[in-house]
Symmetry: C2
Subunit: 523 residues, 2 copies
Amino acid sequence: MLSLRHAIRPVASRCARRWAHNIPSFSHLNAVTEEDLAQFSKILAPTSILSTLPPNSTSPDDLASYNEDWMGKYHGQANTVLRPRTTQQVSEIVKWCAKRRIGIVPQGGNTGLVGGGISLQKEIVLSLGAMSKVRSFDPVSVLYRRVKYGYPTPGILVADAGCILESLSEYIAPHNHIMPLDLGAKGSCQIGGNISTNAGGLRLLRYGSLHGTVLGLEVVLPDGTILDQLSTLRKDNTGYDLKQLFIGGEGTLGVVTGVSILTPPAPQASNNIFLALPHFDNVLPLYQTVKRQLGEIMSAFEYIDRTAYDMGLSHGLGPVLNADEVGNSQCFVLVETSGGNQTHDEEKLTGLLESLLSADKPLINTGVLSQSPSQFASLWAFREGLTECCQKEGKPYKYDVSVPLADFQKVVDAIRERMISKGLYGDHAISKVMGYGHVGDGNLHMNVIAKHGYRPELEEALEPFIYELVASHKGSVSAEHGIGSMKTHALHYSKSDVSIELMRKIKQVIDPLNIMNPGKVLP
Amino acid sequence: MLSLRHAIRPVASRCARRWAHNIPSFSHLNAVTEEDLAQFSKILAPTSILSTLPPNSTSPDDLASYNEDWMGKYHGQANTVLRPRTTQQVSEIVKWCAKRRIGIVPQGGNTGLVGGGISLQKEIVLSLGAMSKVRSFDPVSVLYRRVKYGYPTPGILVADAGCILESLSEYIAPHNHIMPLDLGAKGSCQIGGNISTNAGGLRLLRYGSLHGTVLGLEVVLPDGTILDQLSTLRKDNTGYDLKQLFIGGEGTLGVVTGVSILTPPAPQASNNIFLALPHFDNVLPLYQTVKRQLGEIMSAFEYIDRTAYDMGLSHGLGPVLNADEVGNSQCFVLVETSGGNQTHDEEKLTGLLESLLSADKPLINTGVLSQSPSQFASLWAFREGLTECCQKEGKPYKYDVSVPLADFQKVVDAIRERMISKGLYGDHAISKVMGYGHVGDGNLHMNVIAKHGYRPELEEALEPFIYELVASHKGSVSAEHGIGSMKTHALHYSKSDVSIELMRKIKQVIDPLNIMNPGKVLP
């Protein structure tokens, strides 16, 4: 077996050290053998088994897309990938692996950012991608004729875990429903992976988290038993809500194979505004004002600090606002509305802008209201384009944290000051420290740009400083990306020893053999 | 010790049998002794200990309100009630009880409907009512001056578990926020009890379940350890979401002592309409139409069948609609809106009514839109008055179930037919079978009226028939009331053996001594 250190590509040197330090030995697990392949071939069709072992002898290149995550940051070690088509097949695979003590890494679209879907040593990858059928949905169009056959509650989608998020969105779009979550990775990520990682994304402010919108799950437990809680009921108060453990369980407690989820009706009108604020201190009062005036139609409230805004401009984003009117604005906010009536929504937005601009002590310097779908898209493009701009600026250290709204800028400033005090701020080291993100959710994406590439002394200046800083603000070191294998060592910054010990007990009782995604989540 | 059979009041004879049949012996638990009281008096002030044992020798009458639930249906056996004021005190009590193997029944406002907060044998009652402080809230009015001190996200309330729901509503009302849940029992029930029982109520359709709105909990675990997950963050993806186990855990996994909850801004406009529908088959298409046209402002969609409507009229409710226009309508729907703009909301409602009435094949026979706060209240009064009418009709067997919307009336009709086939339908036995409830949530409240009182043969005809019926529709035998001690024997109708076994493992690993609310939830 290759040592992990060698398996990590050079670009990810900071991760290599971290990984090498953290990975348990997995001495309790066995590698896949030819005997196991023979067993798997009794369960699966030949095309559903990829293995570099004989007799399959698949080329390692054909396993690359399962071993390498989409950032190319982590490189996994699996020599065998299984692609079951049914829950029963998953169950049989897991039963065999439990008997043989073979580690299993459940994998969705492999779009995670924390190495949670990667085989750390010799575990097989269990790819859910071939389980991609919609099991049921109650389309409005056929509701009238089907009602007498006892159709379930309108808007509830039941699907295989391997369905791609965007495919599900497209499936229900003709019926005027939308998925309650939306992510940049929607074209690749799978609903089972979304649920296993408790994905957040752009619609959380409006439709809430998956802990509320997921109605039921089907899960293959680590002993191969199928836990069928695929309820289509909005209310069911019969015992512990076990499905919640698997939402954000990152595949360490079982394999999510099926999902029942509440899909909201599509909004009939969408609008957005882009605002420049004199001071950071205006953000919270503005958030309050907007929330009060727009109420139920506010669907996003995104924050961009001045550093990020100027970076965007320098890379050709926008401009969305008049430079003179922007003046010395310290930060910017993008507000989106999603409502049921275009006229009503526009009236509300216009009223909001008027009251903001006419206030005695205005909370904004200037603002713009989109007047067409293309303007709507271009305001969003500024916000969404920032990630790419960061890549162009250098190598970004990315931190996905939750802190109280009022502390957003304080946290960003503290990091910049830290780098200054260490003599590491400037074009020779860290050229920019900036923050943007989902203010409405308290979720700040910090980007710390290493102009000439990642360097150990930069990382040492940043960590654990940033984790300690976030912890001092009672924040979360992972707002939406999860823990995976990357942040197991940082879990204690956001969770107490009592919490971690209880997590460990839950893991132990559900997966006593520790075969399910070993080395992830728990330190 | 009194036998349980004797302890149950005559009126609750059907429960007595059930209880006597179900209660485990609790031979693993010890009764409270004078030595224990001496220890408790080191932890608590004298006024916080009520015990019929010497030296306290409190009158049993003073324990009555803790031993008898608010329906007067269950009569508990506790000789000792402890009323801690701090989490630390709860922790010390639980530690002592764990050491001494004394059972603990956590109790909130004692407003449950399934005997979940009642001491079955010799367990102490741990009443949370003296822990009733708001710990933090970020009032809009002081936001401007406090923002620089790092205030948490606006709208997040952190409170002791013993705070009464209505008191919390009143606390945040001046700041234009509302609690995300509302119940009939709001004047007595406590937020910790709401969370422990995963209370549903009238606002679930709009604001979602507590699994989504509760951001964090503080829980004293069965060994006395304090689990502090009192997060005020909307997003935190660091490990398993343990708090979810305690939401709906009914006090069997620990004592909820503190709560962090997201409170929505108060709606600035509320309206409602009351509609008469020709056929039950119109309900689902109507629900779709209303949801599409009202979108985000629809906050309740309540169903009333014809039997319930006529019963309401006969007891002096309403009339809310013109009898001629109602004609042969089979059922009725009350729709409520809560929005940010009165003019906009009225326009949407008027538009809805016009389109409903002008349709080629109308989904409604007639309808009324409230024009004033008093009309608004009187439409709600009809729906809310039905419970009391049922009591006037006789002795109601009440079933709180979830079934797919399309099956609501089918389930009610099947029960009526069952009673007819058994010769038990009519004024001599079951005089009425009716359904009403939260259609929007799939939650049907069935009332089966025993005109001359509860009788064993009536119950035998109803159960397990109803539970089997609900299970055949993939429904839940307890949509919002929970399991408590009343429905442990019925849990298997809604949960598979695999689910129940996993619940049992979770219970075993968190409460290995089985001291925490023993005999509840799990059969």
